[in-house]
Symmetry: C2
Subunit: 239 residues, 2 copies
């Protein structure tokens, strides 16, 4: 399991700088590295299910993971997306409660699992870790509060644009010929679940965005924004 600081080692993992393990001393880092479990996962595979007890924490090294909740009527809502450099499942681990969401792999992913006993040791021995988790929790709470306001306030069109902008930030690049090109890493139904709307509504809204000249869609997995300013105007300058 321990490759001596090879390409799979936590010590040299470039994503670690984004995580709560950022300031970890070498000693603790090697502890993590010795005990971590690497997994390569395909879309549709499950990290954990709603209702499960937490066994540890999941580090996303590559790929994309979504946290999904099923409501009483069986609708699934995508509560959040986790990109590389994110630890998934820390809330339930720290609060010792069962998972309230399921975590599902949305793209080919490389995920490391760290057992709760190891995390416990890190928190006890490295004060920075606790602080990082506090900051992370504060940020998550604030993001959620914003989404909460957004859902009550603005319509599907603006919310869809917002989600598309998130994809653009992460997967986009500028093609001087056509504009800002980016991938949509999820299926339409998941895009719908992310926006909090029915798939049919997403279809109609994307068509409307094309008619407005805000976004062009190339098939179902790619899109182009010819003019970013028009989009900012629509959603109110602040992203």
């Amino acid at each position: 399991m321990a490759d001596e600081h090879g390409p799979n080692s936590c010590v040299t993992c470039p994503r670690r700088q984004l995580t709560e393990w950022r300031n970890l001393e070498l000693e603790h880092l090697e502890l993590v590295n010795r005990h971590k479990h690497d997994r390569m996962l395909k879309p549709g595979e499950i990290l954990f299910n709603q209702g499960d007890e937490s066994e540890g924490i999941y580090c996303i090294k590559e790929g994309l993971v979504g946290e999904r909740r099923l409501d009483a009527e069986g609708h699934s809502i995508l509560v959040r997306l986790s990109h590389p450099g994110t630890t998934v499942g820390y809330q339930e681990l720290l609060s010792k409660r069962p998972f309230r969401n399921s975590a599902e792999v949305l793209q080919d992913s490389h995920v490391c699992f760290i057992n709760k006993s190891i995390v416990q040791q890190l928190i006890e021995n490295s004060p920075s870790v606790g602080q990082r988790f506090l900051r992370r929790s504060l940020k998550d709470a604030q993001d959620l509060e914003d989404s909460f306001i957004e859902v009550q306030t603005i319509g599907v069109k603006a919310r869809l644009l917002h989600v598309l902008m998130i994809f653009y930030e992460r997967y986009g690049h500028l093609d001087p010929e056509v504009g800002h090109v980016f991938d949509i890493p999820v299926a339409r139904r998941d895009l719908a679940a992310l926006v909090g709307a029915a798939p049919e509504t997403i279809s109609r809204t994307t068509r409307q965005l094309e008619e407005d000249g805000l976004v062009q869609f190339r098939g179902v997995r790619q899109a182009i924004i010819p003019n970013l300013d028009l989009v900012f105007e629509e959603i109110g300058t602040d992203i």
Copy 2:
């Protein structure tokens, strides 16, 4: 400012057991007590405004405080209510960001203000305080996530019932003659802002609840639930 463990002292404050200062040593407690500022506030008074920089933390000793956010179109949404035993404004203090909501007193309240330099000292010298704030933040994030799901999923009627049940838990008592009587501590417009609906919709929904026999309203500030089971049935047993 310092009364020797009189009725206004933090040392003997009964609400403290509910706050992050719960396990504070006497020494630190007296530090807080020496530097806290007591204020008696009337409905409508403001603790802080959206956009202000955080100067410290607010302890609710008595009364009721609401956090309100104004969206782009000027709608105000009541993001959360804070009851006695709650510290308000900790997120912005710890993340060193400007307040994203305004805090407004909704009922006659007794609020203590603690300057950020004191809070800083406490966190540095008393490890339990940081942990308490972490727990608090985790809980807030989880509550928000639930509200988020709720807003997308269930209708105004169920959401209103949910809010009424919160009031019942806090202000209610059983009158064997008529049923479970409780006060509604906010005006209709604020009840609307809390549910995330227009005041007109709240009017119509309350009328519907009366027609269904779920809740009777006595004026605008009091209500009666003749049969709790009927309400639980409507919102799905879990509260």
